[in-house]
Symmetry: none
Subunit: 131 residues, 4 copies
């Protein structure tokens, strides 16, 4: 299976972090389903053009979060994510990002009305791309 992950070479965000957050999103959103066997660390490292250590770290971190399950000699699998946990996870992640944005707006004394206008603009633009 081909995992759709995009790496931004120029970003300041660490490689392993880019991969983790994208893979996490794929699992949480249900694009990659429970029980799926992920590529081996060596194969994935080849796909992503990075070192096996980096992929290893990604798998290990997500295993720590309970999203992956690995068995030596066999491979790395996607764990079961309960619907409740899935919804909570999604809600939580998005909430944190929104809170950060609103906090920033308040810290520069941006009014609620200005913020609402900006928000509407962005949502319309981003969700339009998708359709």
């Amino acid at each position: 299976m081909r995992i759709p992950i995009q790496i931004n070479e120029n970003s300041a965000e660490p490689l392993y972090h880019q991969i983790e957050s994208q893979l996490r999103a794929l699992i949480i959103s249900g694009v990659i389903t429970e029980g799926t066997l992920l590529p081996s660390i060596r194969e994935f490292a080849g796909d992503l053009n990075c070192s096996v250590i980096t992929v290893r770290r990604v798998y290990q971190d997500l295993e720590g979060e309970g999203m992956l399950r690995t068995r030596q000699g066999t491979g790395t699998f996607v764990s079961h994510v309960g619907d409740d946990a899935r919804e909570e996870y999604k809600r939580d992640a998005v909430m944190k990002a929104l809170e950060a944005a609103v906090d920033l707006a308040r810290s520069v004394h941006s009014s609620k009305e200005e913020l609402n206008v900006l928000y509407q603009e962005i949502v319309e633009r981003k969700y339009k791309q998708q359709e």
Copy 2:
């Protein structure tokens, strides 16, 4: 003058970055006005309980952005921020944060409606605290 900056010791965010973003917001929003003489590096470091190196870096970075002006032997002053620049700056910073939140929502396949509900909740809560 006492600069109201809060440092979060436990955050993974680097010290200098926490200070910079808060000081920047204070200047952009007009809480600290043009021409204000900021504390000396040593004094500020004492206030914030951090090293002088960290404060120097903050002053240097913001000077590079044109927000501060340093006069040898005198101190560090807040530069003029044009109303246009101020508005552009505010808008830009908030927009980036909002875009990140919306991108995240889309990456976990959260619908526009779910996102709107969350957004309303957070804005009401955050702006209520302030009043």
Copy 3:
């Protein structure tokens, strides 16, 4: 004959190790008696839903310990376990596990009294289930 072995897919413990320790306990405790013909490697692998390589390793390891005997073209049999050997084996295995637990308790500065209370609780609970 159906060998009662439970595999825990999620455990970090290697497959072959889970099977070995359970099969060993069954033989030592006398649940599987001397001379019993064990399932063929392929049959057992099918029962346990694991690879034949894993079962072969189990049989080889236990043969190395003198618990099993393989006759080409016939199959794998349970060897004789002397009563003395049986008792020594049981005592030794349980002792090691208890020592590990006591060592851990001491390493976190748990008192002898606290440990005794915990021990009593657990023994009562576990042996009650069995009756």
Copy 4:
């Protein structure tokens, strides 16, 4: 500060795991107190005669468990461990080890009385060493 950790070169237990469990025990038991600055990864690696990567991993794992807090450029500190959490943690770790021992005893059909005798022997012996 000198951290008292013993490494067993011959053990099958991974290096990082030996260090982690001992350091964890030192923190949980209160031998190393809140706020303590641990040795730098390079210094500790020298003390333990292992690579910096191994120490790095230990610090990172324990940070993930909430026991350590690290700040780039400053060092790695012991976090606050609430008394409740501490007791729960101790109790939990010891309980798991005891349960494993009792389970093993039951799996080889060892009687409650035999187990009690063994337990008393071991506790007396181990706690005597300590006094």
